[in-house]
């Protein structure tokens, strides 16, 4: 039971971690909370579900999902965030809240108010882990995709020119500009990467829960942001650890305390962490 909850928590947590990575990169580089991250996740899921319904081609559907998430993310940056650069953080925050409401209500109009099931059915086999817990093939896929993407992202940020440019912009915007880095490009790449990760997360969750709806992104979005803060905002390993901790805490809380309050545990954990260690688990600076 305990191990089973741990496994389920890690699976959901790895998806939270993917979304949290988007938050943490955007926050680290632009200093704003992208409240609409959950909506990007939702558009990713819908892009995949609709393309799959129309063509039946899974790989095309995944590409379409990631593509639509990226388009929404980049448009968001251009329209709702870029004009607000350098203002008090409350202004982009409110703008992002507005964008989030706008995006989810547009989705309700476009895709309807009801849940959609995933057009493909998966019947994965289960594997036993030392007899203590079971993990399904689908859960394995979700975890390995998440971990793979995290590794790729870390390599990209630390080794490539564009990744290093992002880090430089995060450290000091002006100094980065003076040393010849195209800051606008770095912003766009950050949003592209963050959106792509959230889009993948959305597709994974649409398959896992077999449900896609216009409001599917709200709670995972908020929880992923909590995960980013939990781990220490701006820190990539922090977002991963935060996401996993949150997923596990939520599942254990639901199993052992009360399943009605499942959605509250993430926020209780967040409040506790902020009181005890405001920088987050892995955060180095405030």
């Amino acid at each position: 039971m305990l191990f089973q909850q741990l496994v389920n928590g890690l699976v959901v947590g790895s998806v939270y971690a993917l979304v949290a990575l988007g938050y943490t990169m955007i926050y680290g580089i632009l200093g704003i909370i992208n409240f609409a991250q959950g909506e990007i996740y939702m558009y990713g899921a819908f892009g995949a579900v609709i393309t799959l319904g129309a063509t039946g081609d899974l790989s095309l559907a995944v590409l379409a999902g990631i593509g639509s998430a990226c388009i929404v993310g980049v448009l968001l940056e251009r329209i709702a965030f870029r004009p607000l650069r350098g203002t008090h953080p409350l202004i982009p925050l409110i703008s992002a809240i507005g964008a989030s409401i706008l995006l989810s209500s547009v989705a309700r109009l476009l895709f309807g108010p009801d849940d959609r099931s995933f057009p493909l059915e998966f019947h994965p086999s289960s594997y036993s882990i030392f007899g203590a817990a079971e993990i399904t093939g689908l859960q394995l896929v979700i975890m390995s995709v998440s971990v793979g993407l995290m590794v790729i992202l870390s390599l990209f940020v630390n080794l490539t020119k564009h990744g290093k440019a992002m880090v430089a912009v995060a450290m000091d915007n002006d100094a980065a500009r003076l040393s010849g880095i195209n800051v606008n490009n770095a912003y766009m790449i950050t949003f592209l990467l963050g959106s792509a990760l959230s889009g993948v997360a959305g597709i994974l969750m649409a398959v896992y829960y077999n449900a896609t709806s216009f409001s599917m992104g709200t709670l995972p979005g908020l929880k992923a942001f909590s995960a980013a803060i939990l781990g220490g905002v701006g820190s990539i390993p922090g977002a991963i650890v935060g996401g996993l901790v949150l997923g596990v805490a939520e599942n254990l809380g639901a199993a052992y305390i009360s399943s009605n309050f499942k959605d509250a545990f993430a926020f209780i954990a967040l409040v506790l962490v902020l009181i005890i260690r405001p920088r987050g688990i892995m955060g180095s600076r405030k």
Binding site: I91, S95, G98, A99, I101, L103, L270, V271
Partner: protein
């Protein structure tokens, strides 16, 4: 005057109290709260339950204000250890937790809500007339406006302004930042609790959905639309955002689109709001 029009006016007055109370946190003290509807809801449920248990209206009304204020203190003590965006998320989380509490407790009626809340009674008689209720709500709104003006110009208001403009300087001037920020939360939640009480006895039925994150954001939008820190602005913001959805009722499907777009456009083109004289960046001190 039609009953419907009176109903809208009463809602405007209740939301004006709410918007003004949030403006104490956001505009006067320069803090962020995305969980204001939670205090609104706590006041509403408390007042409703207290009156169902047999208390009179005046007692229930005042008690709900004071107990909500005490809960505001309970939130402020841990939450005010963090600033800006972090505070936004902590208050947001608080709002979600409180909504879940309303949804899952037996005493609040769970998702079905609280039914059969007694109407307002004054001098032993129940008040059913919408005119009388509008009078009562307007009177309380008036007291709130007066107290907000007085508060803004008092020593407390000036201390808040100092913290809002530059907290480090305020600290060097000998202002206890933590206590004054806490005081802003207590005052604000007191008024939000009163607004909740009025709402509960007016509608006679409340459910958790009314006090969700959506409402918190709506109240914040009222403050922002009117102009952060402006008292007349909050009144105007509440009027616009209560009346507009009623006018646009035939377009109900598009309401949220309009509302989201309004927030984005406002922030991009006029962040100081309708009544704001100065830029929000000046209100809040230097941007990062």
């Amino acid at each position: 005057m039609s009953v419907y029009f009176l109903h809208v006016l009463i809602l405007v007055a209740i939301y004006a109290i709410l918007a003004l109370s949030l403006n104490i946190i956001v505009g006067f003290a320069g803090l962020v709260s995305l969980g204001h509807a939670a205090f609104f809801g706590i006041g509403a449920y408390l007042s409703g339950l207290l009156m169902i248990k047999g208390l009179g209206f005046v007692e229930a009304f005042l008690l709900s204000g004071f107990i909500t204020a005490a809960l505001g203190l309970c939130l402020a003590l841990p939450a005010l250890r963090v600033k800006d965006d972090y505070l936004a998320i902590v208050t947001l989380g608080f709002g979600i937790i409180i909504t879940l509490v309303f949804l899952n407790l037996d005493i609040t009626g769970g998702p079905d809500g609280l039914v059969g809340i007694p109407p307002v009674t004054l001098w032993g008689k129940p008040v059913y007339s919408k005119w009388a209720f509008l009078g009562l709500t307007t009177a309380i709104l008036f007291v709130m406006i007066l107290s907000a003006y007085t508060l803004k110009q008092s020593k407390i208001g000036r201390a808040w302004a100092a913290i809002r403009d530059n907290d480090v300087t305020a600290m060097f001037m000998g202002i206890n930042i933590y206590s004054y920020k806490t005081l802003a939360f207590i005052t604000s939640s007191f008024w939000a609790g009163l607004a909740g009480s009025l709402y509960a006895h007016y509608t006679a039925y409340i459910n958790p959905h009314t006090f969700s994150m959506h409402t918190s954001i709506k109240i914040l939008a009222m403050v922002v639309l009117g102009g952060i820190g402006s008292i007349t602005g909050s009144l105007l913001g509440a009027a616009v955002l209560v009346i507009l959805p009623e006018v646009l009722r035939p377009l109900a499907d598009y309401q949220d689109i309009f509302y989201g777009a309004l927030l984005v456009l406002l922030m991009v083109f006029r962040p100081q709001g309708i009544m704001g004289k100065v830029k929000i960046t000046e209100i809040f001190g230097r941007g990062r």
